[in-house]
């Protein structure tokens, strides 16, 4: 912490200035759910209707702010960090309250803002045992703040805080409202993620100390946690240290994605989580990992990323094939969808590991598409469980007969998930495979082309297990035990409201992928500028 005047000779030091104020639109959108959670806590437990209304109102206000953000966002300059602020927070370590969004974070922010109201609507009549909507919704609101914050934070410590805030509510959502094995699943989820984030934090701090210093607004020369400055500040880090630092982040983000071999928490967590928990997990939480790679690890340490890229690529493809094979062996519908997540996130990671514009665009599209489609599938699994009280595939059947609308919606979701052209899933999967044909300069082309071929085989397997699932669940005649079950009804009103936006987006993004690619493309270019692709 030397004073500025002592360092006049090093004129090329970066200067940081305070910009914007704390009270900006991103702050509002991030903390609205937290305010909602506090309001929920003040409402008596018995007044369930008020609790639901407040929860829904909060998510809708946040979503409304999201619309405002869309109107304010300058799409012509999607590569720049917009609408944010950069002000002091923890001055002793020069950790700052830096927020902002660009073309990479905007889609994920919008995805979160979309999913959360739907989740609340879906919960309207589906509060899982043991009830207690007050805590249920309050936790979801805290979770939402964590997720939104992670996507807008541009300071490593701020990001870490939001990243961890996500943990606790999810732990409780699984541990309290989950299935029979909920304790095991929630603890496993918690430990895996925390293990990853502990290493990630060490990596962040090593990055902090080894990178160059900046001049803070208060006139001190200090290291920085600023994600937007670190790509320039970290160029002086030795190659060996960079490899280790990247390794720490790799584990931290890799657990969250989850990448093979850190994925084992995911099937348990998904299977045991309540429906809305699974939806949030699949739609948003997993994206935090891939987002971390795209926003932090790769732009800041491009050279280390190149060294790690083959490892990431190979693990991604192992994840694709392994996930698919596991899917084929599942007897439980929810578990099958969970393993399909492992496979799908494998495609995303493969696209990321190519370190190309094309791959990053594909990865972002894949993240959004996976969020919509797998979210939808988990909603369907939850509703199936409500009706049949089981998710055992061999006991199900004839959904199209008993609940035709639901059957068709499931058909659409399954087709989207296996990557049918014209639906959103296609634009996540196909370009991801294609991107491996031509990886960034300096990467082993032969290796990546091999990976591409294996990944393509993965899509065939995906078609196999998804169609098999659909056939067993939707086709045929209902089994004797459910034939005249009055519980089995078609899509209810709340389900229609919750699902329609997802269905519409799956179709629209499938037909007009450009609306997303146009936003992501400029920002991706900036993230990869140091790779030289």
């Amino acid at each position: 912490m030397l004073l500025a005047q002592q360092l006049t000779e090093s004129a090329d030091i970066l200067e940081v200035a305070n910009t914007g104020s704390f009270w900006n639109i991103l702050t509002f959108v991030v903390f609205t759910p937290l305010v909602g959670a506090l309001v929920l806590l003040a409402i008596p437990k018995a007044n369930q209707q008020a609790l639901k209304v407040v929860a829904l109102g909060t998510t809708l206000v946040a979503a409304g702010l999201g619309v405002v953000i869309l109107t304010q966002f300058d799409f012509g300059d999607a590569s720049a960090k917009q609408l944010g602020a950069n002000i002091g927070w923890i001055e002793v370590i020069n950790s700052r309250y830096i927020v902002g969004i660009d073309g990479i974070s905007l889609p994920l922010l919008m995805l979160t803002l979309l999913i959360m109201p739907l989740v609340v609507i879906y919960s309207w009549n589906h509060i899982p045992s043991p009830g207690n909507p007050k805590a249920f919704f309050a936790l979801q609101m805290v979770l939402m703040t964590g997720m939104l914050g992670s996507f807008v934070a541009l300071d490593l410590i701020l990001f870490f805080v939001f990243f961890e805030v996500v943990l606790l509510p999810m732990y409780f959502l699984i541990g309290v409202w989950g299935g029979e094995q909920r304790q095991y699943a929630s603890i496993k989820f918690f430990l895996y993620t925390l293990f990853g984030s502990a290493l990630m934090l060490v990596a962040f701090l090593a990055l902090y100390f080894l990178s160059d210093e900046v001049l803070t607004p208060s006139g001190n020369v200090m290291h920085s946690f600023d994600m937007t400055l670190l790509p320039a500040l970290a160029t002086g880090i030795s190659a060996g240290a960079a490899l280790w630092i990247f390794g720490g982040m790799f584990i931290g983000f890799g657990v969250k994605v989850p990448m093979f071999p850190f994925h084992t928490w995911l099937p348990d967590a998904h299977t045991q989580a309540p429906t809305v928990g699974s939806v949030i997990l699949a739609a948003v939480l997993l994206k935090l990992g891939t987002y971390g790679f795209m926003r932090i690890a790769i732009p800041i340490l491009p050279d280390a990323a190149k060294s790690w890229a083959p490892v990431i690529g190979i693990l991604a493809v192992i994840g694709i094939i392994y996930g698919a094979l596991c899917c084929l062996a599942q007897t439980d519908m929810k578990r099958l969808i969970a393993f399909s997540s492992v496979a799908h996130m494998g495609f995303t990671m493969l696209a990321i590991s190519t370190l190309t514009d094309f791959g990053f665009n594909a990865a972002l599209f894949g993240m959004v598409a996976h969020g919509l489609i797998t979210g939808m599938l988990f909603f369907l699994a939850g509703s199936t469980k409500e009706r049949y009280h089981t998710l055992e595939i061999k006991r199900l059947g004839g959904l199209l007969k008993q609940a035709p609308h639901m059957g068709w919606i499931m058909g659409l979701a399954v087709m989207a998930s296996l990557g049918l052209p014209g639906l959103a899933g296609f634009w996540g999967e196909f370009p991801a495979i294609l991107s491996a044909y031509d990886p960034a300069e300096g990467l082993n082309v032969a290796l990546f082309r091999t990976l591409m071929v294996i990944a393509a085989v993965g899509t065939v397997l995906a078609a196999g297990y998804l169609l098999w699932l659909y056939q067993r669940v939707a086709f045929g005649t209902p089994s004797a035990e459910f034939e005249n079950d009055p519980n089995i009804v078609d899509v209810t009103t709340t389900e229609w409201i919750a699902w329609t936006p997802l269905i519409v987006l799956i179709v629209v993004l499938g037909m007009v992928p450009g609306i997303l690619f146009n936003v992501t493309n400029p920002a991706v270019g900036v993230a990869l500028s140091a790779i030289g692709a």
């Binding site: 923890i90 805030v165 918690f190 502990a198 080894l210």
Partner: protein
């Protein structure tokens, strides 16, 4: 030479302002004693209020001294009042105030000597405030004994309870054993250097002709303090003592006594041994690593919450020791270690006192500290369950609860010097935190998921004083977690630990 004559210099000028916090405590002690002696049974109710008011009154001179901002040094530098000392004086006084809040109903409703309880508490706190300023072997030792001896008695305060008597006895025996070791180390230091002043010792042992003796002295001193802070393998007294002692006393030991031990260790190591990093660094490194790992692993298997908190406290001691293991690399690393240790101690005090406050509140209903007895707490006393979760997850270091910032400062201090030892220890801290989370989360799970074991779901009535203690601790845990700058401004001040003399 006449030793008595040698220490007698012309009446040393006394800085009454600098001594004011301690003088207030001495006055409080006298008032409590007289009220207890002459007030009879009627005065019992006044004891906790008097003590609380007295402790808050002692905070006033601490505040004026901090506002004044001058480093005051007395007795040739043996007693220094600087920001470092003031921070810890304030910490001890506030922690003591919270302990009084925790004790009020517990002591009044049990079969206890009430007057003496508060007198001993104040005496022990007096020792702690002296410790914060001690910069000399004699004042360090004096403060250590002044804070320990009342604590030995307090640990055995549950009369006719074998567990409590065992607690007091174990604590006493291990305590005096540690004192003896410490004293032996100190005597070697004095023998070699001819001075008890920490600064003089630092100069005298640099380049000494008998490095083996210096090593022996440093090791003995560090080990002596390792008992006090319950570092593995010198932790064996802690679980039995914590479990057997009255719970407010346990809270006091786990927070106040331990913090005082760390203050002493940090002061002595950083002022007297800065030239000997190759002796104290590997020693503290090993102590910290073993303490974190063993403490957490044993905590995993506990079924009693107080015992679990005891082992978790052992593990936390490992985290707090860690920065000192790299403190000798440079001046900057020493400064960061001081910052990390003091930050963590403040945060640790808030979250641990809070956890014990919940334990006391719940025991009022269930009469038990077994983890199973916390089943269903969320359903019948949601506020307590949420408070407990806040403290437990803060102990685990989950943002945005204060614990995360404590962990962060420790990571920062470990990584800053850029040594391999620091990196490895940082990774161990990370992994140990993950293990720790497991048992903290298990308690949370029991509170939120499991049913009440006896089916009794009448809400717990929390007395006013306990509610106040919970409010203070929750507020600190949340505020520091969200706005760490509040604390960082105090602990990060320049020339934080002045050497004095």
């Amino acid at each position: 030479m006449n030793i008595l004559a040698a220490v007698g210099v012309d009446n040393p000028p006394l800085d009454w302002h600098a001594l004011a916090p301690e003088l207030v405590l001495v006055g409080l002690l006298a008032v409590l004693l007289l009220v207890d002696a002459f007030g009879g049974e009627r005065s019992r109710w006044a004891m906790p209020s008097l003590t609380g008011i007295g402790l808050l009154a002692a905070l006033i001179p601490v505040a004026t001294l901090a506002y004044d901002g001058v480093v005051r040094s007395m007795f040739d530098g043996a007693y220094v009042v600087d920001n470092y000392a003031l921070l810890f004086k304030a910490l001890f006084l506030i922690a003591g105030y919270v302990v009084v809040l925790l004790s009020t109903n517990y002591i009044a409703e049990g079969d206890y000597w009430e007057g003496e309880y508060y007198q001993l508490l104040v005496a022990s706190l007096l020792g702690m405030t002296v410790m914060a300023s001690a910069r000399d072997l004699i004042s360090v030792f004096l403060a250590l004994e002044l804070l320990s001896i009342p604590a030995y008695m307090l640990a055995a305060w549950r009369k006719r309870d074998l567990g409590s008597e065992e607690a007091g006895m174990k604590y006493y025996l291990m305590g005096v054993f540690a004192s003896a070791i410490l004293l032996y180390g100190m005597s070697l230091l004095y023998g070699m250097t001819g001075s008890t002043l920490l600064v003089d010792i630092a100069g005298a042992i640099e380049g000494t002709e008998v490095p083996a003796l210096v090593a022996l002295a440093v090791v003995l001193v560090v080990v002596g303090f390792a008992f006090k802070v319950s570092a593995v393998p010198f932790h064996t007294w802690a679980p039995d003592t914590y479990q057997g002692a009255p719970t407010p006393v346990t809270a006091f030991l786990a927070v106040g006594s331990k913090a005082a031990g760390f203050v002493a260790l940090m002061t002595v190591v950083l002022i007297a041994f800065p030239t000997q990093p190759r002796i104290f660094e590997p020693l503290i490194w090993a102590l910290a690593a073993v303490t974190m790992i063993v403490g957490n692993l044993i905590a995993l298997r506990q079924t009693n919450l107080v015992r679990m908190l005891a082992y978790s406290g052992v593990a936390q001691a490992g985290y707090i020791l860690a920065p000192l293991a790299v403190a000798g690399v440079s001046g900057a690393s020493a400064a960061m270690a001081v910052e990390a240790v003091s930050t963590y101690l403040v945060i640790y005090a808030a979250m641990n006192l809070g956890a014990f406050a919940v334990v006391i509140a719940v025991a009022r209903k269930t009469g038990s500290a077994e983890i199973d007895s916390y089943g269903g707490l969320f359903s019948y006393s949601p506020v307590l369950a949420v408070c407990m979760s806040v403290f437990l997850f803060s102990l685990a270091g989950i943002p945005p609860l204060a614990g995360w910032y404590g962990k962060l400062t420790i990571f920062l201090a470990l990584i800053e010097p850029g040594t391999l030892a620091g990196y490895i220890l940082a990774v161990i801290v990370g992994l140990a935190s993950v293990i720790a989370l497991f048992y903290y989360a298990r308690v949370a799970k029991v509170m939120f998921v499991d049913p009440a074991p006896d089916g009794d779901t009448t809400p717990i009535r929390v007395p006013m004083s306990l509610a106040a203690a919970l409010t203070i601790t929750v507020a600190v845990t949340l505020v520091v977690g969200v706005l760490p700058q509040v604390l960082a401004r105090v602990t990060g001040a320049e020339t934080f630990l002045s050497i004095g003399g």
